[in-house]
Symmetry: C2
Subunit: 595 residues, 2 copies
């Protein structure tokens, strides 16, 4: 099961394996495994037919009439179930589920996900190239096929933030030389590409030169910007913001990765596609980010497909997007289709609406049955990931903005998700700015040891009334220590709890920690089980609900983790200050003018 | 325009080119060319919209609202027309049109065909590896993109026929190392693959090892045979025999190349696809073999699309099959779609039913306008292709079957296309077998100098009454000199006319040549213009109509050229005798028994 040693897809080209498969298909030798009595959903035609399937090694050798063959080393009864190809998650970050790759694999394989395309840019932002190497090595031994991508935007907005690493084109090219790496991951520094910034242009060009995928993050791009982004060579997007955006991006010719993490958009997407009357072959599915409790409760890419079906997409469309279309995008003609000569990655679903997987086969082996793993999972040593929080304890004053005089005009960051610049007047008390009425604070402290760790502070408006503080080292994408709060006491308390834990999340209120989730590996993930991680994360959610009032779809808990993503349009607080990608400027302090 | 030097698709990865395209898309630099006022058929969604298109070098840089940009070195008025990607012919043999690659390119480019996937197995059968090298070199300098394939079955049925060459796996592997070669061409020796014959298995395996396409010819395959053929690694088919065959092959997971050369099947294909309700992305189009008069009168792949539309296929389906689906199959993400960042291969059609191309752009250059070439065409020296007919003049007795005694039982080859074994009794006169009543004769003489050139003779039943003779050195795939006829005088006459011409076709009747088409290059093609070749071939057709009564769809003129294709099921006359691929046996003489 060694992804590099076997050099997929070339492992299937073993002449002896092919000869065995041909002989078995012909009827002159038994199959290694024979699945009998099931029905097959053909991903190409969308038709369902009764079929038995014979496997030889990792190959599908034969698809034939029910009961026409009985000669096999192992016969598996598939009666009542529907066979499909293994699901392919086209864009995801293992780190978002806050568990190790091994634990992630154990979580999604029983749901029928047999391949994921992993952009390890969270590990990359924290540990640099070593983090990516660790990810490649961790993936190598798993029964879940992990196609890695080279993180293209570490940091996402150079000059506007400091991450734990800085990947230039030479580093990207080095990663692309690995057979485990399938392309360049979501190019998020859109402005850099569009403006022809030498660094980003060189990164995209190194992707083109490799002949591998150059994946995009085309959030909000239209018109000339979208044309320029695509002219540079970027070919996909998952950052859709509406049904109209989907229609425009499809027509523009981008490959689409419909993303499960933004559920409120999925109905619109289904409506647009149903209106089109056919599923374009450029539509694929992805999870992007799945929180541990969601992963534990609902699964991975299967949940995206399930919801699309629930929202009105034909099951055969959802599954075609999740299998065949994905394989085409990956130029992996061994994947994505149940056909003789292809790789035996198969799922036996109980039905096509609930998508409960009875049996999951990867490379011709049963890896999961009835929701539980059967294959062994080998974990890679996580020691290289610890001690990543390079910060001393912080004091309450670290969360205050110093200023002289009596009154001050400050810049504010208005609204989550689609942030806008704002301004407010407020008073100065004891040498510090009093947060403007109705605002909350955001503080970001560099935590990678590349610069000082004093938090930079901003004032948030439109984020509702806060009654405590939340600290997280999961903070896209530089993952600096980020604290939201209404008062410096709770902010310092939450921050210090997280620093002590070696990374993670904490909620403080009224001078007491309400919930803590230690994430001692990279400040992003934990070595404990998904079940325990899901439970602890769920406690964080509940604690958060007590200190702030959410207002979906944009003012939501999830928005906290993207609040520092400075590559997106609008002002974003980073460890350098309040950054704006449109101007390339950073305000170290929100103080605009002493009045 | 050098296909090897520019190493497609990597020519588009020039950083300076990309930077220019990005700047132009952004609006900071003019386009090299701007197409204004046209409508665009989006191959992905099938929707038509108004759009202007800006090109930079060989790249599409921008697709934008009409009249929103006017800055370009050259502005081309596309008013009233519909823009689509350039058409891609997924499987064809230039040689079938009996003209040079340069002349073929001049014929199809003005029709909107910008890419062809050429299996030069006719040249390969005659000249061996040198023939394929000549084809690669001839393609290299043309404005028509020619992706070559390595001929997999030279000869098509080893042991049953002798061609001018013998390509084993080592030769195939050598061809596959050329960047001009995109894969292994139609694997026709189906029995060899299915039975695990070492030669054919090694050829298929060399294709798999190259990571390039392994294309099929799965004529009549079903059930275990089809599974075995696919398990070996073959992934496409164009040899469909019915609508049901199409449905079965689609469901099996083969990529389909719907073939224009068998028009009588196209309506069935349209019916099956319309019944499916969507166009699977595995459906592509091809011409396979186009006679010179058909090419001259109707065009190449555009004619296949046009007929599909006429027979009830939606135009957007036909064009998607001919463009985007083809590019996906080829794993060429630079082709097949009008999108920023892709290659500027574009056609401006007057409409979507007649598909008359007003303008054809390849690599960002206008190559044809209003049905005429604008780009220069460079022909390769054809001297290496002459003197390929290695035969002395033949005598009338060479076309007789010697036998002793008075009566004899002979084997017959019954019916064109789907041949069957038959038997007949007849008399012996003057030491030669008298052809059985109602039969015609077929004689095949080895013409490559690898063995003696004495014709081997067979008796055809079910081919109608013949009243003269037809000789051709175009005779798939070994292209030995093949003569059909009712009497030895006309047969010898026609044969000697062809031998004298250095190859080609001739029709004789009543002791006189009725028509002759010299094909002195390889015995397959001519250096003269398509117009003249079409006219001469048309004369052959007319002469043939006088010496035999055709009965479509199977007893047709075209069947003469495939009568010796011994890889297909049933008895076939070859230069070795009457061959049967099922038994691997060859009857040197049709005489079964002296009675």
């Amino acid at each position: 099961m060694n992804a590099i040693a076997r050099q997929e897809p070339f492992d299937l080209n073993d002449p002896e394996l092919r000869a065995r498969a041909v002989a078995a298909a012909r009827g002159d030798a038994p199959f290694d495994m024979l699945l009998t009595g099931g029905r097959l959903l053909d991903a190409v035609t969308g038709l369902i037919r009764e079929a038995d399937i014979g496997l030889v090694g990792a190959l599908i050798a034969s698809i034939h009439a029910p009961a026409s063959r009985t000669d096999a080393v192992e016969i598996v009864d598939a009666t009542g179930g529907i066979l499909t190809p293994g699901l392919i998650d086209m864009h995801m970050h293992v780190e978002s589920s806050m568990v190790t790759p091994a634990e992630y694999a154990s979580a999604v394989l029983p749901h029928g996900v047999t391949t994921v395309v992993w952009d390890p840019h969270e590990f990359g932002n924290v540990h640099g190239l070593d983090g990516v190497r660790w990810a490649i090595e961790a993936a190598r031994t798993l029964p879940l096929r992990m196609i890695l991508l080279a993180p293209s935007c570490v940091p996402s907005a150079p000059g506007l933030e400091l991450a734990g690493a800085d990947f230039d084109a030479a580093v990207i090219a080095e990663m692309l030389r690995s057979p485990a790496v399938g392309g360049v991951a979501e190019v998020m520094n859109m402005r850099g590409v569009i403006d022809g910034d030498p660094r980003m242009s060189a990164i995209v060009n190194s992707g083109l030169a490799s002949g591998k995928l150059v994946c995009g993050h085309a959030r909000g791009l239209t018109g000339a910007d979208l044309n320029a982004f695509m002219a540079a060579g970027v070919t996909s997007d998952h950052e859709l913001t509406s049904g109209a955006d989907l229609a425009a991006k499809l027509s523009a010719g981008l490959t689409i990765e419909l993303r499960g993490s933004h559920d409120h958009l999925l109905r619109e997407f289904v409506e647009v596609l149903n209106g089109l009357g056919h599923l374009p072959s450029t539509v694929t599915l992805c999870t992007d980010d799945v929180f541990p409790d969601e992963l534990y409760q609902s699964g991975g890419l299967d949940e995206v497909a399930r919801r699309l079906v629930r929202y009105g997409m034909k099951a055969e469309w959802a599954l075609r997007a999740a299998t065949f279309n994905a394989a085409e995008r990956l130029k992996r003609s061994d994947l994505g289709l149940v056909a003789s000569g292809r790789r035996a990655d198969l799922v036996l679903f109980e039905d096509l609406t609930e998508l409960r997987a009875r049996l999951v086969i990867s490379d011709g082996r049963i890896v999961a049955r009835n929701g539980s793993m059967e294959a062994a999972i080998q974990s890679l040593d996580t020691a290289p990931l610890i001690n990543s929080i390079k910060l001393p304890p912080l004091s309450e004053n670290d969360f205050r903005v110093p200023a002289k005089g009596a009154r001050v005009r400050v810049a504010t960051i208005d609204r989550p998700r689609f942030t806008q610049w704002g301004e407010a007047e407020t008073e100065i008390r004891d040498g510090f700015v009093v947060p403007p009425a109705g605002s909350a604070m955001i503080a970001v402290a560099h935590r990678h040891g590349k610069a000082g760790g004093t938090p930079r502070i901003g004032f948030l408006t439109g984020w509702g009334e806060w009654r405590g503080a939340f600290c997280t080292t999961v903070s896209h994408d530089s993952h600096n220590l980020t604290v939201f709060g209404s008062n410096v006491r709770d902010m310092a308390l939450a921050a210090n709890a997280v620093i002590t834990a070696g990374g993670g999340m904490a909620v403080a209120k009224d001078g007491a920690i309400q919930a803590i989730l230690p994430l001692p590996l990279s400040g992003l993930v934990t070595d404990t089980s998904l079940k325990d991680t899901a439970s602890a994360f769920s406690d964080i959610r509940k604690a958060m609900d007590k200190i702030v009032d959410w207002k979906p779809p944009y003012r939501v808990f999830k928005a906290c983790f993207g609040a520092t993503l400075a590559c997106n349009a609008g002002p974003h607080q980073t460890d350098r200050g309040i950054a704006d990608v449109a101007t390339g400027k950073v305000l170290e302090s929100p103080v605009l003018e002493i009045l």
